[in-house]
């Protein structure tokens, strides 16, 4: 059975890559029905090398090739008020993602209200969660400012909980002289049925399972002066229950996560300045004596500047900071209670990077990170917390293609 599903997965991946490459040779997207049906996609491959610790596979003093992204999407505008869209995604990311093909989004977008001043509608199906400035297209290299998004807010290890939800999203947009005001409210079922969703919350090798209540997500955004200013507030609530498995040392505990994110971006012709600040309230209860229960206020922020030196070259500088608990920022209390290293409770990351758009379809990126702390590392790639090192560097090289 396992061999069979693996075979099917490999075939799917090959088909997806084949599709991307065959369109790549013609270097253009597919438009049918006068452009009402569009097919687009992307593929990326990244090399990762770290001086200590593992990020996206076995990268400690060796080169890991275990980070790749392949996606293909189709959209069909049935009428001016109705659009059908779906994307298939295959993502490999060290021990956290195995490259199996899944539905990234699949939705029907209905816009019953539309005038010169604005529009309103509803999206139904699997919808990407509007979370900060980058989450809805977080796996598309061309839409990111860097190879990896700032980890303090866009964790790779807990991505499954916030990447999308199955449900509905109501949206409203108003086009004013000064700018566009938009609001969206989504209510849906987050994806909790994978190891990748479970491990970052309860740890490795737990026999139980994680279940989530329907989760609300609200975002309000103002884009002023032709997108020169982009300001947003995002609020999310995740209510998760753990159902212990056979012989589990953990009890039936609960997680309540309520991140609140403030985002601001200023765009000039050749440079952009972006900052996001997140307050993450986390309540962990009833897991019993073998778990770190409690209520914490986590804090994250980054400040990022990008400069377009020429239309093809763009430089990046960013400082990104993450604290799991603002009342225990150095992790001392955590270390005393758990005997795990305190530096697993924070991460401060200086990043420099360069983007080179060889053609509009083909992009190369290089990036270096100097990190103090291991707060955003995945347990799947670093199973032994005692083997972690507090100070580490991360170098990445990425090639990506789109059509």
């Amino acid at each position: 059975m396992y061999v069979c599903s693996r075979y099917v997965r490999t075939t799917y991946r090959l088909l997806l890559v084949g599709l991307v490459l065959s369109w790549g040779t013609t270097a253009r997207a597919l438009d049918l029905l006068d452009g009402d049906f569009q097919l687009h996609g992307f593929a990326s491959l990244t090399l990762v090398k770290t001086t200590d610790n593992n990020f996206f596979g076995q990268s400690d003093n060796q080169i890991s090739r275990d980070f790749s992204e392949v996606g293909v999407n189709a959209s069909w505008r049935l009428t001016p008020a109705l659009q059908l869209s779906a994307e298939l995604l295959s993502r490999r990311a060290g021990g956290t993602d195995d490259g199996s093909v899944r539905l990234d989004y699949g939705l029907l977008d209905w816009t019953p209200l539309s005038s010169e001043e604005g529009r309103a509608g509803i999206r139904m199906g699997r919808i990407k969660t509007a979370y900060g400035l980058y989450n809805t297209t977080r796996d598309v290299p061309f839409t990111r400012p860097s190879i990896i998004l700032p980890q303090s807010i866009y964790f790779e290890r807990t991505r499954n909980l916030t990447v999308s939800a199955d449900g509905a999203e109501v949206y409203l947009e108003r086009y004013g002289e000064g700018g566009t005001l938009s609001a969206s409210f989504a209510y849906g079922q987050p994806q909790t049925d994978t190891e990748a969703a479970k491990v970052p919350l309860v740890g490795l090798n737990r026999p139980g399972s994680l279940d989530s209540k329907l989760a609300p997500a609200l975002q309000i955004m103002y884009e002023g002066a032709g997108n020169r200013y982009r300001l947003a507030i995002t609020a999310l609530r995740l209510d998760l229950k753990y159902d212990p498995g056979f012989g589990d040392i953990l009890h039936a505990g609960s997680f309540k996560l309520t991140p609140l994110i403030f985002s601001a971006q200023y765009n000039d012709e050749n440079w952009s300045l972006t900052t996001e600040y997140a307050l993450r309230r986390t309540a962990i209860d009833d897991f019993g004596p073998y778990f770190y229960n409690g209520t914490f206020n986590g804090q994250s922020y980054y400040v990022q500047g990008t400069y377009r030196l020429t239309p093809q070259w763009e430089a990046l500088l960013r400082y990104d900071a993450y604290y799991a608990d603002q009342n225990d920022r150095d992790g001392k209390d955590f270390a005393a209670a758990t005997r795990l290293p305190g530096f697993t409770r924070f991460a401060k990351d200086w990043t420099v990077g360069m983007r080179f758009d060889v053609t509009p379809q083909f992009m190369l990126r290089v990036e270096a990170h100097r990190v103090d702390g291991t707060g955003f590392l995945a347990a799947q790639d670093n199973p032994n917390p005692q083997a972690l090192r507090r100070y580490w560097d991360n170098f990445m090289l990425q090639a990506s293609f789109r059509f």
């Binding site: 959209s75 009428t79 699949g106 839409t143 086009y175 566009t180 032709g226 997108n227």
Partner: protein, 156 residues
């Protein structure tokens, strides 16, 4: 006593902003030496009911958000390639959006399932022909290139 994260955040924000302002003023002089640009106008299919459009609505249409004209006719957007000088001129002087930002807005919509790309044409002649023959069409050309079979929309 350690500084609180909020203060640290504010100071690093200020420092970075200062560095950026300095860098951009230094490079501004070089980037700004450009020649006179041709006047661009918005054109639409001749049967379009409107003869003027608010800039905010035009941005929403070119941003691929607004899909319908007030009379329910579907909007059909035509653009020249990102690298064509007329596209940059139209984007900056008429829409008042940097072309790079317009591209980013399209990408965000297409890759989250919320919208589609406009149709790219390869020349002003093709733009005029497509806009003249497609009901609901909107595009742009140099003011000197306008032909009688398209309607010029004024910005209000």
């Amino acid at each position: 006593m350690e500084k609180t994260p909020a203060i640290k955040y504010a100071t690093s924000l200020l420092r970075l902003m200062l560095a950026w302002v300095l860098a951009s003023t230094l490079l501004f002089g070089i980037a700004h030496a450009q020649s006179a640009e041709p006047a661009m106008v918005v054109i639409a299919h001749p049967a379009t009911a409107e003869d003027s459009i608010p800039r905010a609505s035009l941005r929403a249409i070119l941003g691929m958000r607004l899909q319908r004209w007030p009379g329910e006719t579907p909007v059909k957007v035509f653009v020249l390639g990102d690298e064509v000088p007329e596209h940059a001129t139209f984007s900056k002087s008429v829409l008042q959006v940097f072309p790079h930002q317009l591209r980013m807005a399209w990408d965000r919509q297409v890759f989250s399932g919320q919208g589609q790309y406009p149709e790219a044409v390869s020349s002003p002649q093709e733009m005029l022909a497509k806009v003249a023959s497609t009901p609901g069409a909107i595009g742009y050309v140099k003011a000197s290139e306008v032909t009688p079979n398209v309607r010029v929309l004024k910005i209000r």
